[in-house]
């Protein structure tokens, strides 16, 4: 565990910049972070950056090819694809971040609790979690949508629910490792309270693998959300959303491929960025492979 306080002291102070880079996940991770920050900026600044309104329908530009003013071309209603892609990142990133945060907010305490308390509590909680994991993730999400009806918020909730057991498991595994360490036993022997041990030792050490997992899950969340919308089970029209745009353009694939190529690239780049961060962080945070 690189976040162990002793490792901190031992780490060389002469290369703080290099250390920061390692913490962010090396060269790969850095590339990922850069893309993510750009995409977040794009999502926030979409109204400023977008050359056109994402919903402006232009009868003269139906399925029109890319031009200088419309670099990504126009869709079947003559809407500017570039502007829609820029706006779509608000939905994609919003749902990805929201679902992962929600899953962490619920899964982290469950994992810490199960791992730290152990015994029967752990056994029962883990059996329940195994049950949830014995369901294919996308099927679980789709079942939840079948019950609650389609929509962006439902998609967020559904993704969060399939992530909770994954998060809880990862956190529990790392808590189990930390719990057995001498410094935790030492703290207990000194009479430190459970709460302060969890806050001071267990959480800081369990957070690393949880963050690695979070970045990988973030990548999946973007794909799942786009897939759900593509199936008509996620965001609903006329929301500018990447999966929805792909579903719309599906009928004009050969006629106007730009309607399909650019939103898809948009998804792939954001997924790649989170995967790069995940791979990089895994290398620096979790050499033991708690996260798979």
């Amino acid at each position: 565990m690189s976040t162990h306080p002793a490792a901190e002291v031992g780490a060389t102070a002469r290369a703080p910049r290099r250390r920061l880079r390692t913490r962010l996940g090396g060269r790969e991770g850095l590339a990922g972070w850069t893309i993510v920050f750009i995409l977040i900026a794009v999502a926030i600044l979409a109204p400023v950056l977008a050359p056109h309104s994402p919903e402006a329908i232009d009868g003269n530009r139906i399925l029109a090819a890319p031009t200088a003013t419309h670099p990504f071309g126009s869709d079947d209603l003559g809407r500017d694809v570039l502007s829609r892609v820029l706006y779509a990142y608000r939905v994609s990133l919003g749902i990805a971040v929201g679902s992962v945060l929600l899953a962490m907010a619920v899964g982290l305490p469950i994992g810490v609790f199960a791992g730290y308390v152990g015994g029967w509590t752990d056994l029962v909680l883990m059996r329940l979690i195994d049950l949830l994991l014995s369901f294919p993730a996308l099927l679980l999400a789709i079942s939840l949508i079948a019950i609650l009806g389609p929509g962006s918020l439902v998609a967020l909730l559904a993704i969060a629910i399939i992530y909770i057991p994954i998060m809880a498991r990862v956190v529990r595994s790392s808590v189990l490792v930390v719990r057995g360490q001498a410094y935790v036993r030492g703290a207990r022997a000194r009479g430190a309270s459970h709460l302060s041990i969890v806050r001071g030792h267990v959480l800081p050490n369990a957070i690393g693998p949880a963050l690695v997992q979070a970045s990988v899950l973030m990548a999946f969340a973007i794909v799942i959300e786009a897939a759900l919308s593509f199936l008509g089970l996620g965001s609903q029209p006329p929301t500018p959303e990447l999966g929805l745009m792909l579903a719309d353009g599906n009928n004009y694939l050969t006629q106007a491929p730009w309607v399909e190529i650019f939103p898809g690239l948009g998804i792939a780049i954001s997924v790649l960025a989170f995967n790069l961060i995940g791979d990089g962080l895994r290398r620096s945070f979790d050499p033991n492979g708690i996260t798979r």
Binding site: S134, V223, E260
Partner: protein, 319 residues
């Protein structure tokens, strides 16, 4: 051999609670729909008589435990009820769609394992550009959403080259060649990401195994490098490979839902999605149950195969 048989049996028994929990969840699916599921299911056809018929067929007037009991009893006897829209028996709907999903997923998995494992083994022993290329493929294939990859493949193989049909399906029994032609793009689409995962796992597992001391002893015994790598190292590395393949099968089943819709394959995934948009909860329920059971069976099989290949697993379960 006896120890292995009892391991398989124990693993089989462990599946029972999972099956029961799954069935309860799937059973509750309809009952959890906010409002009156029957009314929203029937839509404009919700005449008082129709509502009454459906309510009684689903047994919604009974207490929940009895409803569950009646339903599961029917399921165990191959009776999944009726589709209230097409009036067909749900089992006959599944009889058509399940083989499609099975063909798609099994072919995709075979392709992914058939490419991912050998390439992973080959790459494990190498450094330099081979590693870079395979690493690039892995992160790329994992990052590209499968349904978009499918669209791009259609764009190339149908739009540009015009060598493969964009979508559609005929039964294998009716026209095997045409059936496989329809299957190529969906299978490749679904298999690409899986290949990447299996390649990555194989490479990592082989790297770990090849540095074990027993590999050095095999060399000291004068075995051929080929049998060291493919007989001994691969068998020892098979644990993680099989585990990941099993987990990935779940992802594959989820992916099949999207891919079937993209390529208009009449599989269970398409059945489920169509049924959801029609609020046809009985069909959704049956489809979800089928896919979930399929996944449970695959998990069971992977664990048993893992146990057969690695004698340490049975010990780990019994202790």
């Amino acid at each position: 051999m006896n120890a292995r048989l009892s391991y398989a049996l124990r693993r089989l028994i462990l599946t029972a609670p999972v099956l029961i929990a799954t069935s309860i969840f799937v059973f509750l699916l309809i009952r959890l729909v906010p409002g009156d599921p029957v009314r929203s299911m029937l839509g404009i056809r919700a005449t008082p008589e129709n509502i009454a018929t459906v309510r009684s067929e689903l047994g919604l007037d009974h207490p929940l435990p009895q409803q569950y009991w009646d339903w599961i009893w029917g399921v165990l006897h191959g009776n999944l009820g009726h589709d209230f829209i097409s009036h067909e028996k749900i089992t006959s709907l599944l009889k058509v769609s399940l083989p499609v999903t099975l063909e798609l997923t099994v072919l995709a998995m075979l392709l992914a394992v058939g490419v991912g494992v050998p390439v992973g083994v080959l790459v494990a022993a190498r450094t330099g550009w081979t590693r870079k290329v395979s690493g690039g493929f892995v992160i790329g294939a994992i990052s590209i959403p499968d349904f978009w990859l499918g669209l791009m493949l259609v764009l190339v193989f149908t739009g540009l080259l015009n060598v493969l049909p964009p979508s559609g399906w005929v039964p294998f029994t009716q026209n095997p060649v045409q059936n496989l032609r329809y299957m190529i793009l969906p299978v490749v689409t679904l298999a690409t990401g899986q290949t990447a995962y299996i390649l990555r796992t194989t490479r990592a597992a082989m790297l770990g195994t090849l540095s074990e001391p027993y590999i050095a002893f095999l060399r000291a015994k004068g075995l051929r490098e080929r049998s060291i790598v493919y007989v001994h190292a691969l068998r020892n590395a098979s644990g993680p490979i099989i585990t990941v393949t099993g987990i990935q099968f779940g992802v594959l089943l989820g992916g099949a839902i999207v891919i079937e819709n993209l390529f208009a394959l009449p599989g269970v995934g398409r059945l489920i999605v169509t049924a959801i948009s029609e609020r046809n909860y009985v069909v959704v329920q049956a489809g979800v149950l089928t896919v979930a059971c399929l996944f449970i069976v695959v998990n069971l099989l992977t664990d048993i195969v893992h146990g057969l290949l690695d004698p340490r697993v049975e010990e780990a379960v019994s202790s």
